[in-house]
C-alpha cells in the first residue's frame, strides 16, 4: 500500500474523506452544520489541530513509549485545541459563541486521534503533514457541503461572512426541519448514500 506523496495529500479529499468515507468525526458533522459559516469555522479549527498534532506526533514517534502513547497523543491534541479556543475567543468571538462547546470537543474528535494513531505514529513528518492537511481540508469541504444543503433547504439563504444571500428569493417557504437536529441525520444519510452511489461506478 505504498502511496506517492501526492496521494498522501489527495486521499483525504476524496477516497478517504473523513465524515463520508471513514465515517469518523460525526459529532461535529451533525452538530455544527446549521450554516456554512459554522461548517467552515469548525473545519478550519480542526485542520489546524490535525496538522499540528500529526507533525508533533510523527516527530516524537520514536520517543513516545508504546504503553503511554494514547495519553501522550491526548496531551498534544488537547494543547493545540486549547490554543485554537483561545485564539478564536480573541479574534473571532461571534463564531466562537456559535460553535460553543464543539471547539473544546475537538479533543475527542475521532479523526484527530485516529490520524495520530493510525498514520502519524508510523510515518515521517512530511507525510504526516500532508496527511493532516488533506484530511483537514477534506473534513472542511465535507462540513461545508453538508451545511450548504441544510442551510439552503432550511432557511433559503446562504450566510457567508455574516451576510445572508437569498438564493431562492423571498417567496421561499423555509423547510426548517433541515436546520434542526433530525434534519442533520437525514442530510448526512442522504450524503453518505450519494457518496456510495458515485464511488461504486
Amino acid at each position: 500500500m505504498a502511496r506517492s506523496i501526492v496521494q498522501e495529500f489527495t486521499k483525504g479529499l476524496w477516497a478517504e474523506v473523513p465524515p463520508f468515507r471513514l465515517v469518523l468525526g460525526l459529532c461535529p458533522t451533525l452538530a455544527v452544520t446549521k450554516s456554512v459559516e459554522n461548517g467552515i469555522g469548525m473545519g478550519v479549527a480542526t485542520t489546524f489541530v490535525l496538522v499540528c498534532s500529526n507533525v508533533l506526533v510523527s516527530s516524537l514517534r520514536k520517543v513516545i513509549p508504546a504503553k503511554v502513547r494514547i495519553a501522550c497523543y491526548i496531551v498534544i491534541i488537547a494543547t493545540f485545541v486549547t490554543v485554537v479556543e483561545l485564539v478564536m475567543q480573541a479574534y473571532t468571538y461571534p463564531l466562537f459563541l456559535k460553535l460553543g462547546i464543539f471547539i473544546p470537543l475537538i479533543v475527542v474528535n475521532c479523526i484527530v486521534l485516529g490520524r495520530s494513531e493510525a498514520f502519524a505514529s508510523k510515518n515521517g513528518i512530511f507525510r504526516s503533514l500532508l496527511d493532516g492537511l488533506g484530511m483537514g481540508i477534506g473534513f472542511t469541504l465535507a462540513l461545508s457541503a453538508l451545511a450548504a444543503v441544510r442551510e439552503l433547504l432550511g432557511t433559503g439563504d446562504l450566510t457567508i461572512w455574516e451576510k445572508p444571500i437569498q438564493v431562492f428569493g423571498p417567496s421561499y417557504q423555509p423547510f426548517s426541519f433541515m436546520v434542526e437536529a433530525p434534519g442533520a441525520f437525514v442530510a448526512l444519510g442522504l450524503m453518505l448514500c450519494l457518496m456510495n452511489m458515485v464511488g461504486k461506478k
Binding site: 520517543v63 513516545i64 513509549p65 504503553k67 503511554v68 495519553a71 501522550c72 496531551v75 498534544i76 488537547a78 494543547t79 486549547t82 490554543v83 483561545l86 485564539v87 475567543q89 480573541a90 479574534y91 468571538y93 461571534p94 459563541l97
Partner: protein, 197 residues
C-alpha cells in the same frame, strides 16, 4: 523498570511543555479576549446608551475600586466633553439577576439611558426589557435624586405588562447605580478630567 522511568519522563516533559505553551498563549490573548467580551456582550447596550458619543466608549474605559470590588466605567464624549459615564449594576429579576448598563450625565446628574445586558427572564414577557426599546426609553433624562419606581409602586415608569418583577429589577438596578454614582462621584469627576483632550 527502565521502561517505567522513560514513560514517566516522557509524559512529564510533554505535560510541562504543554502547560508552559498554554500559559504563554493565554497571557498574550488575555487582553484581546477581554475587549471582545466587552464588545459583544456589553458593547451593544453601551453603544445604544451613548448614541451621540463621538469617541469609542469601549476603548475609553477605566476602573475604580468600590470597597473590594473593581468596577469598570465607560466614558462617553458628548459635544466634545467627556461628560457621560456608563457602568453595570444588577437587580433581582424573575429568573435571576438582570444586568443593567446605566449611563449617567455627570454635568446634571440625569440618566442618559439604560440598557439590559444579561438576563434570564421569560421570552416574550420579561425579556422585552432587552428587546423592546420603548421600555428602557422611559428612563432617559430622569433625575437621579428621586428613587425610580414603577407606577404601581408610586413611580413614573410604566411596567412591562406581565413582567412587573423584571420592571422592578430594572428600576432597582438603576437606583443601585444612583447610590454607587453618589458614592464615587468625586473620584469619577477626577478620572473624567483625564479624558479631556
Amino acid at each position: 523498570m527502565r521502561e517505567m522511568i522513560k514513560m514517566l519522563i516522557v509524559l512529564t516533559v510533554l505535560a510541562t511543555v504543554s502547560g508552559g505553551l498554554l500559559a504563554a498563549v493565554r497571557e498574550s490573548t488575555k487582553e484581546q479576549i477581554e475587549v471582545q467580551v466587552l464588545e459583544f456582550v456589553k458593547g451593544p447596550a453601551i453603544r445604544s446608551i451613548l448614541e451621540g458619543a463621538t469617541n469609542d466608549p469601549i476603548v475609553d474605559r477605566f476602573q475604580l475600586k468600590d470597597g473590594d470590588a473593581e468596577r469598570t466605567f465607560f466614558v462617553g464624549v458628548i459635544d466634545g466633553e467627556p461628560r457621560a459615564v456608563t457602568f453595570e449594576t444588577s437587580g433581582k429579576g424573575y429568573g435571576g439577576d438582570v444586568g443593567l448598563m446605566v449611563g449617567i450625565d455627570t454635568t446634571d446628574d440625569k440618566l442618559v439611558g439604560v440598557g439590559v445586558t444579561t438576563h434570564g427572564e421569560t421570552p416574550g414577557m420579561g425579556a422585552k426589557a432587552k428587546t423592546d426599546p420603548s421600555f428602557v426609553a422611559q428612563f432617559k433624562g430622569l433625575a437621579l435624586k428621586d428613587p425610580i419606581k414603577v407606577t404601581g409602586d408610586g413611580g413614573s415608569i410604566n411596567a412591562i405588562s406581565g413582567a412587573t418583577m423584571t420592571s422592578r429589577a430594572v428600576c432597582g438596578a438603576t437606583n443601585e447605580a444612583a447610590a454607587l454614582y453618589e458614592k464615587l462621584k468625586p473620584q469619577l469627576t477626577e478620572k473624567l478630567k483625564e479624558f479631556k483632550k
